[in-house]
């Protein structure tokens, strides 16, 4: 029995190249899409206040900004495994270019982190401060979606 397991493991090891392609990466994709959903929900709290659609609430604004910063610290590489682009599988809009330009992609993610920190600094200081900080965040999202997210 032990032998068979060891043999099976050996075969599995040999086959990782082939297996990697058939591996189910849908969980990784769901996780990264989930992090973007968390971002969108918290931006919604801040953006609706900036636009005057909801009343300004310093505490809620700060909590939303803190959450954005928290998301920006999530370690990204495990969410973007090789073989999970829109060319490789269904259910994702991540362009293959991400894996050709990982450094640039990482710097665009870092740009989001900086914009989130800027929002964190000002979110509780008043409604007027949120609009400009939203502008910075919007710029960071677009800069990445421009190049790395495929059309619907």
């Amino acid at each position: 029995m032990k032998m068979t397991i060891a043999a099976a493991a050996g075969v599995a090891l040999l086959a990782t190249g082939a297996l990697a392609q058939e591996q189910d990466l849908s969980g990784n994709v769901k996780a990264r899409q989930g992090q973007f959903r968390i971002m969108a929900i918290n931006l919604g709290i801040l953006g609706d206040m900036a636009q005057g659609k909801t009343e300004y609430d310093a505490e809620a604004a700060q909590a939303a900004a803190d959450t954005l910063v928290a998301v920006s610290t999530i370690n990204q590489p495990p969410l973007w495994p090789e073989g999970s682009s829109e060319m490789d599988m269904d259910g994702t809009r991540a362009k293959a270019e991400i894996w050709d330009n990982m450094d640039d992609f990482a710097s665009k993610w870092a740009g989001f982190g900086e914009a989130a920190s800027a929002m964190q600094q000002v979110a509780a200081t008043g409604q007027e401060a949120i609009g400009p900080a939203m502008g910075g965040l919007g710029g960071a999202c677009k800069a990445c979606h421009d190049t790395y997210r495929a059309p619907q």
């Binding site: 969108a40 931006l43 953006g47 829109e86 919007g138 999202c141 677009k142 979606h145 495929a150 059309p151």
Partner: protein
């Protein structure tokens, strides 16, 4: 599909042989341009709304105002490359006259009298007010010159023949505005921005087999020219956002549920964020006034 298109285009070229006169370039009447003097400061807003920089800035440049050209535009007919339109006298358009510029931008005619390809959206710019054209020309002369040489398009025969574009123009150019009688000043401005300057229809309307815009399905969405995915429809039955939501998207890139825009729309938003709020509101009002399903023509 490609075979069919090539066939149709070949027939077009044959027709062009028969109708050589019909397909000859038809320039802007001189009276229309006489006596105009351009204001560079006003021209900046025209330039921004018309999105000239979006296509003509160098592919990897951070500076959108250096109009060195070089970006590629894939299509069913081959790949087009944007030329240098900076004020450089040798490699750009610094040596051109205002009349030559006006003919290129609103009629798709080069200074040599050849047809330009409609990948350059001159069928939209044809609706541009002559004063705006003069202001635009004055503004463009103030931009930095760049000596990057033009790159050739990558087009198979028969699309490599510019004369064939004359047939295309007979079918699709000179058609005027799509939305009739806008009524209010706000809608008139919105229609001018959306249809003449910002050429929303070039991306958001479906095309016929010959690559002309299908005006009977105006702004109802289209396949993405990259070959994968679609560009969303903007008619009220497809886009149920409020006018305020549309204006905010054009300013920030945020959808009502705070997703963020991507792809070619990002350049459009960069442009509209730099325009006055009234202009964004006018375009939003225009979209809300579109008929359901885009049936206009």
């Amino acid at each position: 599909m490609r075979r069919l298109l090539a066939g149709v285009a070949l027939a077009g070229v044959a027709l062009a042989g028969a109708g050589w006169v019909l397909t000859a370039p038809d320039p802007v009447p001189e009276e229309l341009l006489a006596g105009l003097s351009g204001d560079a400061a006003r021209g900046e807003a025209v330039f921004t709304a018309a999105g000239c920089a979006s296509c003509h800035h160098a592919p990897d440049s951070e500076d959108r105002l250096v109009l060195a050209g070089g970006q590629s535009f894939p299509s069913d007919f081959g790949t087009f490359r944007a030329p240098n339109i900076s004020p450089d006298p040798d490699h750009g358009i610094g040596g051109w006259s205002f009349a030559q510029f006006a003919n290129a931008v609103t009629r798709g005619i080069s200074p040599e009298g050849q047809h330009l390809y409609p990948a350059f959206p001159y069928t939209a710019y044809a609706q541009m007010a002559p004063q705006d054209l003069a202001d635009l020309w004055a503004y463009m002369a103030t931009l930095p010159a760049d000596a990057t040489p033009n790159q050739p398009h990558d087009l198979p025969f028969p699309f490599s023949l510019r004369r064939g574009v004359g047939v295309w123009k007979l079918l699709y150019a000179d058609r005027g505005f799509v939305l009739p009688d806008p009524g209010t000043p706000d809608l008139t401005r919105g229609r001018y921005l959306a249809e003449a300057l910002a050429h929303c229809g070039e991306c958001h309307s479906p095309r016929t087999a010959l690559g002309g815009l299908d005006r009977s399905a105006w702004l109802t969405g289209a396949p993405d020219p990259s070959g994968r995915g679609t560009i969303p429809g903007l008619t009220p039955d497809q886009l149920d956002w409020s006018a305020e939501d549309i204006a905010y998207y054009l300013e920030s890139g945020f959808t009502p549920d705070y997703d963020s825009a991507g792809g070619h729309m990002v350049e459009v938003i960069t442009n509209f964020a730099a325009l006055p709020a009234e202009d964004r509101a006018a375009v939003a009002a225009y979209l809300k006034a579109l008929p359901e399903g885009g049936r206009l023509d």
